[in-house]
């Protein structure tokens, strides 16, 4: 039984390591920023999740205690990875496209503070800060 679990854990660790290398290599290799965003946020997260699950099963089978920390870390990583990817994509869009090239919003506010409900925005709010 323990032999089978050991082989299973070894397979999980090897697969996770390969996924991590693929993610980091994609960060170097892919041509555009928006494509480079995909490699680390998906492949590396899977790799780390695999290593964490392997650790949890190891401590459950060989040490005889359930450790919830790994499950917490896995859950946290899988929740936060899309959020960071979304934020980085927004930052990239903000830097890559000039304000003049954007289509008009159709409402009183700009895209950064877009709200379809708001018809007009107080002008001094728009000129209050320089977006840089």
């Amino acid at each position: 039984m323990e032999q089978i679990v050991e082989y299973f854990l070894a397979a999980l660790l090897v697969i996770g390591g390969i996924f991590a290398v693929i993610g980091s290599y994609g960060l170097l290799k892919l041509p555009q920023m928006m494509q480079r965003l995909h490699a680390p946020t998906k492949a590396t997260t899977i790799g780390v999740g695999s290593a964490l699950i392997a650790s949890m099963i190891y401590f459950l089978v060989f040490e005889g205690k359930i450790s919830w920390h790994e499950l917490l870390i896995t859950l946290f990583l899988f929740l936060t990875a899309p959020i960071t990817a979304n934020f980085i994509a927004k930052a990239q869009l903000h830097r890559a496209i000039n304000k003049d090239e954007l289509p008009p919003t159709g409402v009183g506010s700009e895209w950064a503070t877009y709200d379809p409900e708001v018809k007009t925005v107080d002008p001094h709010l728009l000129s209050d800060r320089d977006p840089g």
């Binding site: 050991e6 082989y7 854990l9 070894a10 397979a11 660790l13 090897v14 996770g16 390591g17 390969i18 991590a20 290398v21 993610g23 980091s24 290599y25 960060l27 170097l28 920023m33 480079r36 965003l37 680390p40 946020t41 590396t44 997260t45 790799g47 780390v48 290593a51 964490l52 392997a54 650790s55 190891y58 401590f59 060989f62 040490e63 205690k65 450790s67 920390h69 790994e70 917490l72 870390i73 946290f76 990583l77 936060t80 959020i83 960071t84 934020f87 980085i88 927004k90 930052a91 990239q92 903000h94 830097r95 950064a112 800060r129 320089d130 977006p131 840089g132």
Partner: protein
């Protein structure tokens, strides 16, 4: 027995990934690439901590890993927010 070899292989893989992220961090075409490289480095270091925990058969590293995950997420979001709005807390 085979688990020790697998842990060594995983250490090698995550370390290689960390080295590639470091190269990208110093050799990036834009600032968003640097943020992405830093975020990936945090994830890779997290995996190294977990692997070290398996190798030494101790569960003492997991609090450190959890803190790493949280600070990594908050710092990435703060950096992106700074680029987007010129400010972190408005």
């Amino acid at each position: 027995m085979i688990l020790d070899y697998a842990i060594d292989f995983a250490f090698l893989c995550f370390g290689l990934g960390l080295a590639m992220n470091l190269y990208r961090l110093f050799n990036a075409p834009g600032v968003t690439d640097r943020i992405l490289a830093l975020d990936t480095m945090v994830i890779n270091v997290l995996a190294l901590l977990v692997l070290y925990g398996i190798e030494t058969r101790s569960g003492i590293n997991f609090e450190a890993a959890l803190l790493f995950a949280m600070t990594g997420f908050v710092s990435t979001v703060a950096y992106c927010k700074f680029i987007l709005r010129g400010d972190i807390i408005e």
